[in-house]
C-alpha cells in the first residue's frame, strides 16, 4: 500500500468505510470495512460482480451518497455533491435531448467557467479531441450511441476536475466502439497528469487496459479482496494492448482473484 506517498494528502483516502441500506424491511450491508488510498494522478478501476457495492463506493466518493461509518477524504475534505473539483460520469450518457452536443457540454462547463468565449473555445477543443468537431450543433437524437458517449466523456473532462468518477461509462456500446472510446478516455486523461480517476466496471479487460491499479471487491458485503498493480507501459493504446500477452495474463489473474 502506498501509504507513505507524499502526494496522498491531495489524493483519495478511505478508512474503515461501511455502509448499509434498508430494502423491504431488510438491512443490506453494501460495504464493509473498506480501506483505500489513491494517490494524485492515479487511474484506479473498481471491479467485482454486480451488487458488490462498487457503485455505492463511487456514489460515496462523488458525494451523491452520504457514508454512514468511516472516513472518506478527497484532498483532505469530505466528498459532497457539487464539489468543483469532482466530476461524475454516468452509465447512460445523461445527455439532454433538447440541447445540442455543444450545449450539453456547456450545461456542465457553465457551472465552472463564467466567460462565454472561453467556454465556447474549450467546447470546440473537446469536441475536436473526441473526433466530433463537425457535430457541435447536432442533437443527441441525431447521434449514434458511441458518439453520444463521446459527448458525455467530453462533458465530464470539460470540468478539468481533480477527481473524475466514471460509472460503467461504456457499458452500453458495442465492442468495436468501446475500444475507440477507451482510447479517447486514456488520451483525455493522459493530457491532464494530475487528474485522479476512479472507474467502476465489470469489464476486466477494460479495467486492465485503462488503469494503473485494479481493486477487486468481494460480493456483498463489498470489501476489498485484491489490489493488483498494472505495470503496462504508458502511453497506452487499448487497441494495441489486445495483442500483448502481459495484458491477457493480467486479465486472467483478475478472473482468479474474483474467484470465477
Amino acid at each position: 500500500m502506498p501509504l507513505a506517498d507524499p502526494a496522498l494528502g491531495g489524493g483519495i483516502r478511505v478508512r474503515k468505510l461501511s455502509h448499509d441500506y434498508q430494502r423491504d424491511e431488510q438491512r443490506i450491508e453494501a460495504l464493509s470495512d473498506v480501506n483505500l488510498d489513491i494517490p494524485v494522478g492515479e487511474f484506479v478501476a473498481l471491479v467485482g460482480t454486480s451488487g458488490c457495492g462498487k457503485t455505492t463506493l463511487l456514489d460515496i466518493l462523488s458525494g451523491l451518497l452520504e457514508s454512514l461509518q468511516g472516513e472518506v477524504l478527497l484532498a483532505g475534505e469530505p466528498p459532497s455533491a457539487g464539489r468543483p473539483d469532482t466530476a461524475r460520469m454516468f452509465a447512460r450518457d445523461a445527455l439532454m435531448p433538447w440541447r445540442t452536443a455543444a450545449q450539453n457540454i456547456d450545461f456542465a462547463l457553465a457551472t465552472r467557467v463564467q466567460d462565454t468565449d472561453q467556454r465556447a473555445q474549450r467546447i470546440q477543443q473537446l469536441l475536436d479531441a473526441v473526433g466530433l468537431e463537425e457535430f457541435a450543433d447536432a442533437y443527441p437524437g441525431q447521434l449514434s450511441q458511441g458518439m453520444r458517449q463521446r459527448v458525455a466523456l467530453a462533458r465530464t473532462f470539460s470540468l478539468q476536475s481533480k477527481f473524475v468518477m466514471l460509472d460503467e461509462p461504456f457499458g452500453a456500446v458495442d465492442a468495436m466502439t468501446k475500444i475507440s472510446l477507451q482510447d479517447q478516455l486514456v488520451e483525455l486523461w493522459e493530457q491532464t497528469p494530475s487528474t485522479t480517476v476512479v472507474l467502476v466496471t465489470h469489464d476486466l479487460g477494460e479495467a486492465v487496459a485503462l488503469s494503473d491499479r485494479v481493486i477487486v471487491m468481494s460480493p456483498r458485503p463489498g470489501r476489498i479482496v485484491a489490489d493488483v498493480p498494472i505495470d503496462l507501459p504508458r502511453p497506452r493504446s487499448v487497441k494495441a494492448l489486445q495483442s500483448v500477452s502481459e495484458f491477457h495474463k493480467l486479465v486472467a489473474q483478475l478472473w482468479d482473484e474474483l474467484g470465477a
Binding site: 462523488s62 458525494g63 451523491l64 455533491a81 457539487g82 464539489r83 468543483p84 469532482t86 466530476a87 461524475r88 454516468f90 447512460r92 445523461a94 439532454m96 435531448p97 433538447w98 440541447r99 445540442t100 450545449q103 456547456d106 450545461f107 456542465a108 457553465a110 457551472t111 462565454t116 442533437y139 437524437g141
Partner: protein, 255 residues
C-alpha cells in the same frame, strides 16, 4: 411511396363504397331516408349552406368560444401545474379534489353554467374551460414527473441550484407532454363548446345540429357534421405539425 399511394387509394375506395351503399339504401328506401339521410342530398346541403354563409357564420361563432376557452383553460392549467411542481405540498393537497372534478361528467355542469352565465358565449366558454383545464393539467403534471432521473443526478453532481434544475431540466422535459395535452385539449374544447351549444342554443354549429335534428332533417345534421369533421381534423393536423417542429428540440432556455 407506392404503398402510401396504395393506402390512399384504398381508403378513398372504402369511403366511396360506403357512400354508395348509403346512397343506394336511401334512394331505394331499404332504410327510411327520413332517418338515415342521403349522401347526395346532404352534400348538396353542405355546399349550399357554405355558399349562403350559414355554416361559415356558425363556425366562426363556435370557434370564437373555442379560442377563448382553449386559451383561458390552457393558461390556468399551466399555472396550476407550475405551482404544483414547485410546491409538491399543493399537489398533495389538491390532487384528490382535482381527480374527483375530472371524473365528473362535465356535461352535467352545463345547466349550472347556464344558470350562472346565461345563454350567451360565457357558458360555452365555461364548458370548454372545464374540459381543457383538466386535460392539459394532467398532461403537464405527468410531463414534469417524466424527467429522466439521470439528468437530475447529473445536476446534483454539478451542484446546480434548484431553480436552474426547474428551468433547464424539468420544464424542457415536460414540453412534449404539454404539446400532446394541447393537441388533445383543443379537440376536447371543441367538444365542450358544441355540447354547450346543443343544450343552450345560440348561433353556433351545435345549435344547428340540434335545430336540424328537431326539425327531422337528418341531411342538415350530416351536412353540419361534415363542417365539424373538417374543423377538428384541421385543428388536430395544425397542432401535430407544431408538435413535430418542437420535437426537433430547439433549446427553449437561453445558455
Amino acid at each position: 411511396m407506392n404503398t402510401r399511394l396504395g393506402i390512399f387509394v384504398g381508403r378513398s375506395l372504402v369511403i366511396l363504397a360506403w357512400g354508395l351503399i348509403w346512397e343506394l339504401t336511401a334512394r331505394y328506401e331499404l332504410l327510411p331516408p327520413a332517418f338515415t339521410g342521403q349522401p347526395s342530398v346532404f352534400l348538396q346541403d353542405f355546399v349550399e349552406h357554405v355558399a349562403d354563409g350559414t355554416f361559415p357564420t356558425a363556425a366562426l361563432i363556435t370557434l370564437q368560444a373555442v379560442a377563448v376557452a382553449f386559451t383561458l383553460g390552457g393558461v390556468l392549467a399551466i399555472l396550476t401545474a407550475l405551482t404544483m411542481t414547485v410546491f409538491p405540498t399543493v399537489e398533495r393537497l389538491f390532487s384528490p379534489i382535482i381527480d374527483a372534478l375530472n371524473a365528473l361528467p362535465r356535461v352535467a355542469l352545463i345547466p349550472l353554467f347556464i344558470l350562472w352565465f346565461g345563454l350567451g358565449m360565457l357558458q360555452k366558454v365555461a364548458s370548454g374551460v372545464s374540459i381543457m383545464y383538466f386535460v392539459l393539467l394532467s398532461y403537464t403534471l405527468a410531463g414534469a414527473k417524466a424527467t429522466d432521473p439521470d439528468h437530475l443526478l447529473l445536476a446534483r453532481s454539478l451542484g446546480i441550484p434548484r431553480w436552474r434544475v426547474f428551468n433547464q431540466i424539468i420544464i424542457p422535459s415536460a414540453v412534449p407532454a404539454i404539446f400532446a395535452g394541447l393537441r388533445l385539449g383543443l379537440i376536447y374544447t371543441v367538444l365542450g363548446v358544441i355540447t354547450a351549444e346543443l343544450i343552450a342554443g345560440g348561433k353556433g354549429l351545435g345549435t344547428l345540429v340540434s335545430y336540424y335534428s328537431n326539425t327531422f332533417d337528418p341531411n342538415g345534421v350530416f351536412a353540419t357534421l361534415i363542417v365539424l369533421v373538417i374543423i377538428t381534423s384541421t385543428l388536430s393536423a395544425v397542432m401535430s405539425r407544431i408538435e413535430r417542429s418542437i420535437g426537433k428540440w430547439r433549446d427553449p432556455v437561453q445558455l
